[in-house]
């Protein structure tokens, strides 16, 4: 090109992302080539905008594997899923601050229910991800999504007389009850409205006018009548199905990784999380169900919690003999790659003008039993020596870690050490700590909430009956207050449902603990 006097940008996956898997590698390269420059320009404009307002803070973007990067980063493809992933990082932050080892992060949005797991302080990174149905090579925090959200359509299948929820949804148009929109089909939100859980006057602070009678009429006509059921029972039944799907998802994810809900605390956020948390946690004996006061903006909060980090990967595909006889040569080869990755991370921070002394190098390896096709990521920072790299003994230690992890993830029936090991990928992450937000830590007031916080009562439908629920304005509640169900805690962007038989004490960190009474636990 230079010879021809042409200036043509060239992207080479062998240089930028040398990992095995031609389909995701190519797709990701195309995404990068296509979207990186326009995105970068947009980020610079954001930077300029803030600068004009007098800010000196740098603009950073959250990557889907953890850590924020500068717009100059040469691989912006890693920022594709910043939003939903933010919630998981927020969860990690909260877990660390509060000393919670195992946390399930659950986000109920308009179209989807996203779940991620933090186990012993770590979240698994998954490789085979897809984005808009394209396979991509973007390391992503393992997150599961089902197409069941607050805006999901509710329909009856004539042939089987079954209720179908989603995956299509009204999205931001909320539902049939939205007088400003043209939605034909009733949604999950319409059902929550019909049951009295939502305040029709203050949906999104009153910005979206929703009519409860319209919701009821829609549900009656479209769902209840075709099934020959009562309208409120139907609305509750729909929520039962949706919440059961969500709880199945949770159960599947947790059990699929070899754990049990009893091992975890459930964190609920997103616009719809606090509303459905009691429903989808029912029957799963979580240690605790927590709903932060800032649940509606939790993903954004999560972005702010992330450190600056640059991650580089390289396929190595080293084969380690089952008797470790070639551990030395494997260590040698790995060190080569890891050193190279470390340099790339250092260069990136150098470019950003970050003090190299503040940068920590955190290497990992992806490993599998030879013959299997799914590797697991194992952090090796504790054994990796910054000067010497890994020794042959270190390799054995790493394998022990791998096997322990394998045990947790898959059933005991599946181990195959006799075949040897394949160390598929070397990963190098450079991390420079960023200022973090602080979680509130306030003095506890009494259990009884202030008068001013109580705004009235409203009937809610739960367990086949109507109950008079106390209404509370979230902003006016204080740490130490204990909300006794039936109750609804309301805020412009979110609603917490505290059903009959539940209570929700607000702790010093301004986090609610949703508890089914009689299940014990002294929170405060």
């Amino acid at each position: 090109m230079a010879e021809r006097g042409e200036a043509v940008p060239v992207w080479l996956s062998s240089e930028q992302k040398p990992i095995r898997g031609e389909v995701p590698r190519m797709n990701t390269l195309v995404i990068e080539a296509y979207a990186a420059e326009p995105s970068r320009k947009q980020l610079y404009r954001v930077d300029d905008g803030f600068a004009e307002l007098g800010s000196e803070a740098p603009v950073r973007v959250l990557t889907s594997s953890g850590g924020t990067v500068a717009p100059e980063h040469d691989w912006l493809a890693d920022t594709m899923l910043s939003g939903p992933i933010g919630g998981i990082f927020g969860g990690e932050f909260v877990a660390e601050e509060l000393g919670i080892d195992n946390l399930v992060c659950s986000d109920v949005g308009g179209t989807s229910f996203d779940v991620g797991l933090i186990t012993e302080g770590h979240y698994p990174t998954r490789w085979d991800q897809s984005l808009a149905q394209f396979m991509v090579a973007i390391p992503m925090t393992a997150m599961d999504t089902i197409g069941s959200g607050t805006g999901s359509y509710v329909r009856v299948d004539r042939a089987s007389e079954r209720i179908e929820v989603g995956p299509e949804s009204a999205g931001y148009e909320v539902g049939y009850s939205n007088r400003d929109a043209d939605v034909d089909v009733v949604t999950v939100t319409d059902c929550t409205l019909a049951l009295g859980y939502l305040n029709p006057e203050s949906f999104l602070g009153g910005d979206i006018p929703v009519d409860r009678d319209v919701a009821l009429e829609g549900i009656r006509e479209q769902v209840a009548e075709p099934l020959g059921e009562d309208v409120h029972e139907t609305a509750r039944g729909v929520l039962d199905i949706v919440e059961r799907d969500m709880s199945n998802e949770l159960r599947g994810l947790i059990l699929g990784l070899g754990y049990s809900p009893e091992n975890y605390t459930l964190l609920s956020y997103g616009g719809g999380g606090p509303l459905h948390a009691a429903g989808y946690s029912r029957g799963l004996a979580f240690q605790d169900v927590i709903v932060p006061q800032w649940a509606a903006a939790f993903s954004a909060f999560g972005c702010a919690c992330a450190d600056a980090a640059y991650r580089y990967d390289r396929s190595v595909d080293e084969i380690l003999q089952p008797d470790f006889s070639n551990a030395s040569s494997v260590a040698y080869a790995l060190n080569d790659s890891l050193e190279d990755l470390r340099e790339r991370a250092e260069d990136a921070f150098d470019r950003d003008g970050v003090d190299p002394d503040t940068v920590e190098f955190r290497p990992s390896l992806r490993i599998q039993y030879l013959g299997m096709l799914d590797d697991l990521e194992v952090e090796i920072g504790e054994v990796y020596d910054d000067e010497e790299g890994l020794s042959a003994e270190d390799v054995e230690t790493v394998i022990d870690r791998y096997e322990a992890k394998f045990d947790r993830v898959f059933k005991r029936a599946a181990k195959s050490p006799e075949n040897g090991y394949q160390l598929t990928m070397a990963i190098g992450v450079g991390v420079a700590p960023s200022p973090k937000p602080t979680i509130p830590d306030e003095e506890l007031q009494g259990e009884t909430p202030p008068e001013a916080a109580h705004t009235g009562t409203r009937d809610i439908y739960w367990d086949d009956d109507w109950h008079a629920a106390d209404l509370w304005r979230m902003r006016r509640l204080e740490p130490g207050n204990r909300i006794e169900g039936p109750a609804v805690v309301e805020a412009p962007a979110t609603t917490i449902l505290v059903p009959p038989g539940y209570d929700a004490p607000l702790d010093e960190n301004r986090i609610y603990h949703l508890r089914e009474q009689g299940t014990g636990g002294d929170v405060l």
Binding site: R155, V156, D157, R158, A159, E164, E168
Partner: protein, 161 residues
């Protein structure tokens, strides 16, 4: 209850103008439109020049229609083929492509039926095919198999509601 939207959609299906997104997300998935048969029938009637009531469509151009001589197969060009009890192909012109040269009008070499017998490129002479083997099995093998087959029997009895 065929709404305007339903009709538009069905019309687009008939005319082949439906967009992929709508097809994939609205038309193909459940639930299916309960009025589809009737709406289709009516729209088709609007499109054809003949007056006969359409009973059902057979393909792009042929319909089972009512007439004063009973139910017949009729083409949208007006041609009346035969009674619905008969095979309309008996009243159609037939064009057969048999020679390889004819096939080659449609498909490249190697991508169509092979002139018998199938040959390697070196063009081996044909050899007569032997009699294909038919049923085999001694009586005892058959009996063993019957025992196995008893539980493989699919339901031959009509289920009545």
């Amino acid at each position: 209850m065929a709404s305007e939207t339903d009709e538009r959609q069905v019309a687009q299906l008939i005319d082949g103008e439906i967009g992929w997104s709508e097809l994939r997300n609205d038309v193909l998935p459940d639930p299916k439109d309960g009025e589809r048969f009737e709406v289709t029938r009516r729209l088709l009637e609007e499109r054809v020049d003949f007056e006969n009531p359409i009973l059902l469509p057979l393909n792009d151009h042929l319909y089972a229609v009512g007439s004063d001589r009973g139910r017949i197969v009729k083409c949208d060009c007006g041609q009346e083929f035969c009674s619905l009890d008969e095979n309309w192909k008996h009243h159609a012109r037939v064009r057969v492509r048999e020679a390889e040269a004819d096939h080659r009008e449609i498909y490249p070499e190697y991508q169509t039926s092979t002139p018998s017998p199938p040959a390697t490129r070196s063009g081996r002479a044909s050899s007569p095919t032997s009699t294909p083997s038919t049923r085999s099995g001694s009586g005892s093998r058959r009996r063993t198999h019957d025992r196995i087959q008893r539980y493989n029997r699919t339901n031959h009895t009509r289920i009545h509601l």
